[in-house]
Amino acid sequence: MSGTIRIFHGPQHPGVTGNMSLELELDGETIVAATTHVGYLHRGFEKLIERRTVLQAFTIVCRICVPEPDPNEENFARGIEELAGLEISERAAYIRVMILELARLQAHLLWLAGQGASIGHELVPQWAVGDRDYILDLFEEITGGRVYHMYIYPGGVKRDLPEALPEHLNRVLEALEQRLPAYDRIFFDNAAVRKRLQGVGVVDRQEALRNGYAGPVLRGCGIARDLRRDAPYLVYDQLQFEVPTADGCDAYARALVRRAEMDQSIRLLRQAIARLPSGEIQCRLPKHRKFQIPRGETYVQSESARGAFGYYMAADGSEYLRRLQVHGPSMVHAFTLLERLLIGAQLSDVALIMNSLGICPPEIER
């Protein structure tokens, strides 16, 4: 009889960040082997998109990632614009930046709630989800939806900003700026949190580069890669921001990176409000059955809160895309990396490590 036991952790488990499961072999509380099972949430989006006109398909892409849908909308819209030779107005580009940065802020707050809950910190999830709700209020005001916005549309954005938006946005940003130091005191500088996060889920720096890890996982290894700076899109090249990094390579380093990114997002949002130009928000599009995308292919990328998102799109001259393939950051983090990081970890570290890697199972399987 072997001294280990084998358990299933997920797919229905509060500590698993979505619909995936882990098969763990335990020696007491210590994990000696782990196998990840992804694929519980295959919704066939890429195939569904091939059967819808490009204007119909834009409503599907946001559902690829629930916690942060907007980079998907933006990637899809930008890909269609590149293929169809459309140029969006500067105002639309600034509005898109605002939406993307608000999305990053709320995604980091949602991560903070998950990371806090994963280590038994009861207070920070309540604060973070509460503060995130104020950002969702802004989304509701701008787009008419709270979680899925379906707002960034090929050719621009669907609606102009409400008149009172700059004032409301400023109010939320001021409240967040006052609030974030309180998060530092209760979470990031908390001795108990440090003890739990430091030295857990340590990613090898060379491996991070070799395997294409992204976002806070890569920047938590001290590697300053960010598509907003390295391959600027929209108007990011006109805005000032830094790419925060940390050197620990562990869960705490990734937490510090995300915390610093929240400051940078607020900085970007303030610049976007101040520089928001007037003008059109949407260029004229043909009717959806007549909107034929010229033959060609493109690859567009954007930096989400969890890392680089890439969309490969191929068109054959019809009103349907011939192929769309989504490259998200979760697959490389959730598959074999997670298996390696779990070996030697405690059972109570599973949720901690999953949250820290920013794994979003809905985005693994499209």
Binding site: E140, G144, K158, P162, R185, I186, F187, N190, A191, H288
Partner: protein, 131 residues
Amino acid sequence: MGLTLDIKGLITPFSALGLSVRKPHTLNYPRVPREPAPGYRGFHVNDLSQCAGCGNCQDICMNEAIDMVRTDQEINPKNASGLVPRIDYGRCCWCGLCTDVCGPDSLRFEADCIYVSADADSFLYMPKNQA
């Protein structure tokens, strides 16, 4: 394993106690429903005196949630087909493409978004006739 004492890290979390005297962010009883933002994507409304019966909304709906059906209510005399949209709220994803393509702008969203019924067929929803 060395023992290092992080005094600041042990004390600062207690600063959260200071918030216990602040006004809570959560709502107190009796609950006052929050007003949705203007432009919130709730239920559909359709101004039947304007609806042209063109079926553009049905055509663009990627979920096939819209059927064009007959109605007993008075409709626009210029309604070409004599049909008006009915929405299947088991399929609708509130993307708003139908309202975007509505030529006469008769199909719109209202902010109301709560509907409860034990009758599944009632989710085949006839938008309120509203100007």
